[in-house]
Symmetry: C2
């Protein structure tokens, strides 16, 4: 019997290794689309992507695959062993996928391209009602899927589970509520206070030199060969093991630099995952979106906006962009850490960013748990925004229409951004006692990356988000660490 199980396990390994090559191809098709491809070829690229996607989906939802997966018993494996992790995730993914009828999936996938077009138009024309009919369809399909998947406490839970296997909306609420209260208090506290004004947007820069500086950051921090290309929306991707690529945009100095650091955080995690050792196996993957985001935010914010960091890199920055010679490093650091209260999430400062997320989390929950009418979304958005930020967004384009996620059917995704922020601060709090962050002043990131490798990257998908945080920090996810971190930073910024 054990031998048969072993054969089945090996078959699944082989199928998934093969599929992982297809997934590599898919990553390349997407990367190339966004980085290199002549847009005139979009129609052909769409078909190439569809062919590969459909093949992967076909194999993973096939009867044969299901039989193999179902014939394995998770209890036969030692908890947290490689095999246990693989079997656990094969089962989770297969169950989740197989509960949704193929027709519903293809209904959704064929809806998304037109929905995205509608979203772009709606955003451009500041008219929510252009998106509304598509959003209604997408939400309705998601509700159907929720019923197929099932849930324990509330419908929205089934969506969150797609991104965080063991964190429920109730748990998120317990984390987000005190965070929200504290953030609103912090905003009140610093209201009207100013930092020395530096007009960073008026600084002239040579894009090539800014790019060189960003590449210098990557090389100096990681000591790895990681491609950096320009795109309109920054992202990180893994084509195959050792082939990690990130992008940033050069529309402003800040977005280029912090975009690079953010994606580098994602890239480092991907690079050091055991994806070569366990190629194609679930255990070689990242834990979750929130752990992934904790890594990007760690390098973007905790490292990248710290005094230590700029004590090393500011001189290099002035070499690439001369005008920084006229700006005091102190003023620059204050500038990149100040509270801004901007209406757009992707432009938000580190403090208010989480309020943007909490707002979305609360609205998503209302959509799926309370079945609110989608016509009311703009009003709900604006009122909640006013409550958190103290003012109404000027229009829906920089309000309810600002993000692509809902038009793309990404519900339950947003909370992982703030979970990532909180986790990064919580891990940082533990790291501080074990790693000397002053080493950054000498441009030395070795011990920081070593800690992350040994405590996060190396494990791959062995633990869940909650388990890993407990292991590293010896307590559950606790927003207080972020609050402490941001308060102590703001105290310095507004001193």
């Amino acid at each position: 019997m054990l031998k048969v199980k072993n054969e089945t396990y090996k078959k699944l390994l082989k199928i998934n290794e093969q599929l992982a090559h297809y997934e590599s191809i898919l990553s390349l098709l997407y990367w190339d689309d966004r980085v290199c491809m002549n847009p005139k070829a979009a129609e052909y690229r769409g078909k190439q992507i569809a062919i590969i996607t459909e093949y992967i989906h076909k194999v993973r939802t096939s009867k044969k695959y299901g039989q193999l997966v179902n014939s394995l018993n998770l209890d036969d494996y030692k908890k947290y062993s490689i095999e246990w992790v693989n079997v656990k995730w094969w089962k989770f993914e297969y169950e989740r996928n197989s509960k949704i009828p193929p027709k519903l999936i293809s209904k959704l996938s064929s809806l998304i391209p037109t929905s995205l077009q509608a979203w772009e138009k709606a955003k451009k024309e500041k008219k929510f009602k252009i998106l509304l009919p598509y959003l209604k369809k997408i939400v309705s399909i998601n509700k159907e899927m929720i019923e197929k998947w099932g849930y324990d406490e509330e419908p929205y839970e089934a969506l969150v589970k797609g991104y965080e296997i063991d964190i429920t909306p109730k748990e998120i609420e317990k984390i987000f509520s005190p965070l929200k209260e504290n953030l609103i208090k912090i905003i009140q506290k610093y209201k009207g206070k100013e930092v020395p004004k530096i007009e960073i947007d008026k600084i002239k820069f040579d894009t090539q030199k800014l790019e060189q500086f960003c590449k210098f950051l990557i090389k100096k921090i990681s000591n790895l060969e990681i491609r950096l290309d320009p795109t309109s929306h920054p992202f990180a991707t893994t084509i195959s093991p050792f082939d990690i690529r990130i992008t940033t945009r050069y529309n402003s100095i800040e977005s280029a630099i912090f975009g690079t650091l953010h994606e580098l955080g994602h890239g480092l995690y991907d690079y050091y995952l055991p994806s070569s050792k366990y190629f194609g196996q679930p255990v070689s993957n990242s834990i979750s979106l929130s752990i992934h985001e904790s890594q990007s935010r760690f390098f973007e914010n905790i490292i990248g906006r710290s005094r230590n960091f700029w004590e090393f890199f500011y001189r290099e920055l002035t070499k690439h962009i001369e005008d920084f010679k006229n700006i005091k490093i102190d003023d620059f650091i204050k500038h990149i850490n100040k509270i801004d209260l901007k209406p757009i999430r992707t432009e938000a400062d580190e403090t208010t960013y989480n309020l943007h997320i909490i707002l979305r989390f609360n609205i998503e929950r209302k959509i799926f748990n309370e079945n609110i009418r989608l016509e009311e979304l703009p009003e709900l958005w604006n009122e909640t925004f006013k409550e958190y930020f103290g003012y109404y967004p000027e229009n829906d384009s920089i309000g309810v229409l600002q993000d692509i996620h809902w038009a793309e059917s990404l519900f339950g995704y947003f909370p992982t951004y703030t979970l990532g922020n909180l986790i990064s601060a919580q891990i940082y709090n533990t790291m501080k006692n074990k790693v000397n962050f002053d080493e950054i002043k000498q441009g030395n990131f070795e011990n920081i990356i070593k800690f992350l490798k040994e405590n996060i990257y190396d494990y791959g998908k062995t633990y869940t988000t909650k388990e890993l945080i407990k292991l590293i920090t010896n307590e559950p996810i606790n927003p207080q660490h972020f609050i402490n971190y941001i308060e102590s930073k703001l105290k310095e910024v507004y001193n």
Copy 2:
């Protein structure tokens, strides 16, 4: 019956359209490998390429595919109609592929990577005997394949047929023989004559500026968005219709510029082929390697080394590389057209290039028709080289080992290079009466490209090489046009 045939034809269209998407993916995997990929990921890329290649091969050699192809009758279609061309090529390819047992193919494919490694080592260490055992195996497999394919006049014919469907080695000999005699005479004639010396290799250049100039060339000539990337070996590729990409290298000014022009010639042909209109159909492809090469050589040499061309572009060149201000345009044009007698084909001047090819053609013919011992290849090479060029190559690394082709099992490929050169001169001879080449002086390439579009590109694979040349120039392939062209040019160069 006709209806059944029509259904079969449609099925083949559909299968081949699907396969063309896989071929697009394959092109991207190769392009990315050479242009973007981190070399550490080579093993994974190899597997991705193998998966897609094997899939395409499996479908195209499947019983089902063979039955479909065999059930169509070429005589049922009007000659030169789209359908006729497609059926003709489906049949040709299937017959050629299906004659070779899969085992022989996999024997050859698994041999090539090690053979290439041996070639690199042999070339580096200047030791032919390192390559010899691999070459023996490859030649022996090729001989086996020749027997499977069959031939009319001589064994080598079966190999040439893989690249030129209706040109036999006998016909090539008739073209190459007078060419060889004339070229040797020309070399004798100009022996010892000098052009004004310009030390172009000592000119300092900024790679980025040289790249900008090359991109300017592409844009100005083609008025298309064609990517240009740096690689160690320049190439042109089509990912999908409208997505044409070329590369060049910046190791020297000349190789960057003429590499760009050469690949642009390939790229223009690919861009204007009816590949979007007849996607995945044989008729949408290029005719042959020699026609493809005629296009690259046309832009590299006939256009790119002409006085008209530099009268427009020289000023722009001096803008990007200042030192050219100290070089007279006359001297530059003489320099890029002079006879050099270099031992390496890829560095050869326009006149002697063809002697390099004729040498290879004659040796390949001896290998397969006369079964010469491969141990004798270096001596045979050196003696023939001495006969043509008047001196012995210093060592095998710049002699018999210089090209990758044989180690890669590319036999019968070389003659297409010179056929391409001859064809470009022959077409040019006809074009001169219909297109005003003086327009190039104003940077206007519109009518030149229009002629090529209407007379070559638009037809796709409708005609064979021989048929097309007859159609355009009203005579068979005739080397005299190249001889006239090069003699009249050299007269100016050495005036």
